[in-house]
Symmetry: C6
Subunit: 239 residues, 6 copies
């Protein structure tokens, strides 16, 4: 029984993990500020969209309009895919800021996990969404006080998305340049795959590296591969 | 008086610990994300099943369906053993996510330690289960606030399983790559054996290592043995 | 589609980030005590003022009169630009200290996030402000107890400023000389750009370095560039 | 005035500390998981028993039946000494797990410090017990919330045992392989002697070491002595 | 526009910072125990007194009588200056200890921030005080629970002193020999100058060093300068 | 004006600090477990007693009977000095353990800071006590929750003792072998002198070192001096 693979949008990465993410799994993409986590996710969604797999980007931190604008830098035309009905953006960033959203899809200003889960359920099932990005988990979990609550909330959202048959990327973050994998030390155990974007520090220059730490049902090396953020997005330096 | 041994499912590991785990003991398997803790546990259960020792896998984090699927990668046919009545999976992952379970064995959505203990008691005594895996402890202990409560809850579940005559693997986790043995710093003292799966970091490549830190009633070296996750599961690199 | 650029006031820095900050974005300027964060911000505002882009400096920590005085050191004549109507200072430092403000613009002594947001809205929209500096975030967030509250408050103020079309600098701080990017470990994920002012320690002498850690929509190196605080402000040592 | 000495059961250790522990004192035996703390304690009790000094082992973590079984490994026949009336085991492990105890001596399921102290008093005074092992303190202190409460509870139990004229070993634990002496950072100040069992890490191999950190009224070196856990228990590698 | 300078009382330090502290500013003097922070402050006050600038020393930790006595060591005759009306000591140390004060100036036993601020206002305005030392901030902030409260209290006292036209030294402390600048990680951002007194450790000998970390409106090197505490107080080792 | 000196009981230490501790001051003696802090204190008291300066040892942790016994090791005959009326021991160790005290001087079982302060006042003033040892502060402060409370309680006891004209040693403790000076990070700022007893680690052997970190009104080097605990107590290795 072969596990179906979901292409990541980064061809060289697919080559490292048997062709892509295992289908119907959730992958944690994590790292410190500035490593290109959002770029990674948009590449993932647009690659799917280009093949007819509909995508949902849940914008919890950055405003959808900013994401659209910044991605033009890499030739990523989000609006075009939105018009085609291949990509949906759910604006949670403005509601979190108690600001009215100008977006087509948004959530009410005061929402809880149940509302959020219902909204995800509605958008995914009505639009036949296949790829989902939650950007980011820590921005979602601001309600939750302790370890147990956060762990359960992430577990709950994650399992809902998997039950709906989605291919999921969860974004988290680290505050240290060199160690640790996630904000809460929990996200990596909920996800079935973990990709760490990290810095290595050589003198005054910092190099970006991608590490596939975990990928269930997949044979992969646990190496750090340097990458650059080029005009086309994440560019893995593998010969 | 010779202590009876329970084969682990990894022959080379048995060779390091006088033939296997001491019978009727609980072994902590711990390590950071991506080291293959679940694979280790499934090998343990399937090896028992192949010898007629019935096994119970308590899925607290990952959905049973995902575990089944991912294990096919290593030629581990969980479903076949389930059909034979040699392996049982208790779905706690979906109930924790407030989702209905499609599994044969599951627990109600809102459960407490007493419910959980009763369910374990029922499944083990009715089915003559010999091997039990709790994957994982931290996902179980989300209810508990402080050190004392967590320590007692783990102690309570662990002793129940031992009283029932089981051979137990408790799974825990560490968030740091290099140091620490468990999430709460308590699990290793409750278990009578501790196996740490860990990374060592050599330049851009990370190597996995297995360390038998503790194994009561057993003479063993406290060395780090490198291993790979091969097509057949955990593959210890011992000559 | 080219992203519009906002000159920073430091020509050599503009040269590192495609001509300046992306327009309508918020940049975190952070670092330990004594690295010249306020100088950086005033340069940013005065450069805008010199081109007719009106600026707002929100003084949360230091008294406006002290800022004016100290900046004369670098030939920065804040008062002149205030008289021209090109620069506005909102005094929150005295109200925070329960002292009466002698400034033209100040906030009432007991204020909350809503009052603060309204005041910002009023000053920005009435005066056509284009550049805003919040100096500093930690001094603002003294009301807030936990991670979630702080994250949301920063998110809320930040998004309001962006919705108003401003080019924003948020100032934060670190207590360690060598690691970490922000006080709360949150600010860097809210901002779309991060500039870290930091020390490197060589023997008994400490050198200041500027690092562009993140700049969305911008190609930039992640190098540490040494700088000095000269008679003209921040002086990047790039040949 | 010569201080009376209590032989430890490890002859080479006696040689390091003027013949044994000072009589009527409490010694902390501490270290990470897997260093043989329980073996150390059983050696201490059995050595006393062999000389007619009655011993009490308070089993807070591990079940008495497991301790008995595992110790056969080293030729330590606990049951024989129990039958002789030279060794008593108080089962607190099963009551802590809310399980019925099959042991002759146990405590009720819900106990507090007062009950526990009374039980100790009763067993020690009725049976003329001379040597007491509390294995372990952290398992006892699960009730206690803060630093002060824990410190006082340990102080209280410890002083009761000393008032009763006992020679006491308190077991504690550390979670780090390399530093720290105890779980709470308090135990070492309550005890009048401290023996640290620890790992040193040389490449892939970990060596066990014994360190006499403190021994009141005793001249001793503060060296780390390597030891092995041999077929006869703790085997100090001193020539 | 030249910034007026306040001589520090340490001539060689004046030479490092353009002649002295900027007038009407607050300088944080901080460091671990034993580095001579109080000596630094008394030198500052006595130098002012010798030029007719009246000084106020707020004794929060050490009793005024002890300060007077110890300073005789360096030929600093505090009492003489008190008699002249050039130096005032406010005893908060005894009231904090619920002891009656024998000092001329003290505060009632139970005081809060408002009382304290009023007392400062009264003493400064009635006596035309120019130089103020608060020794120390952490002893003052014992009322305050969280980060925000402490930050605000320090901010409030500091700004009051500046509004009254004073030249202020705030004393704080660090518990680590090697890193960190202050107790709360807040003080250095409130002050407009930061002088760190610190140890460097070379073998068995510890050397004291002075570091001007921040001095607003002032050009200064960020070097560590060794100093000794000689018969005349702080003695900077600059050739 | 010469500061009067109090001989410490360790002649070579006196030689390092101008003849002894400054009179009527409080000295913190601190360090990890096993460094001989109690021995240091008893030497201090007995030296005073031998010169007719009456001493008070406040036993908070160890039972007076144990202290007496252990000190015979070094030829320190506490009982003899008690009989002479030169040394008093206040038993707080047994009351803290809720045990009846057999000592002449003890405190009631449930005591608070006020009771404790009153008892000190009574014993010191009635017996003309000159030297006081509080062994130890952390055992005293078990009542107190937060930083501010602990700081104030220590401050209060300390100032009472100084007001009574005593020469005081406060004992504290550190849990780390290598860094930090005290348990709460506060004690060293309350005391006017700090003596750190510490380990340095050279291979498998640990050497004890004495460091005079702070001694107000005293010129002293900040060196680490090795010492041994010999048959006569603390033996400084200074040639």
């Amino acid at each position: 029984m072969e596990i179906e693979r979901i292409e990541t949008g980064i061809q060289k990465l697919d080559g490292l993990i048997e062709g892509g993410f295992p289908s119907n799994s959730s992958i944690l993409v994590t790292g410190p500020s500035g490593t290109g986590k959002t770029i990674f996710c948009i590449q993932f969604l647009l690659h799917g969209a280009s093949k007819g797999e509909k995508g949902l980007y849940v914008a919890l931190e950055e405003r959808p309009s900013d994401v659209r604008r910044e991605m033009t830098r890499f030739g990523f035309d989000i609006s075009a895919q939105e018009k085609e009905g291949n990509l949906f953006i759910l604006d949670v960033a403005n509601p979190r800021a108690r600001l009215p959203s100008k977006e087509k899809y948004s959530i009410q200003t005061q929402f809880d996990t149940e509302h959020f889960a219902n909204k995800l359920y509605e958008m995914i099932s009505q639009n036949d969404v296949k790829r989902v990005v939650i950007d980011s988990l820590p921005a979602l979990t601001f309600h939750f006080g302790d370890f147990g609550e956060i762990r359960n909330a992430i577990h709950e959202i994650n399992n809902l998305l998997l039950e709906l048959g989605c291919n999921v990327i969860l974004v988290s973050e680290t505050t240290d340049f060199r160690e640790g994998v996630s904000r809460f030390g929990v996200e990596e155990f909920v996800a079935s795959g973990v990709i760490v974007l990290t810095y290595s520090d050589s003198g005054s220059k910092m190099t970006k590296n991608l590490l596939v730490l975990k990928m269930r049902g997949t044979k992969h090396a646990v190496n750090r591969y340097p990458y650059q953020i080029s005009d086309n997005g994440i560019d893995l330096q593998i010969v």
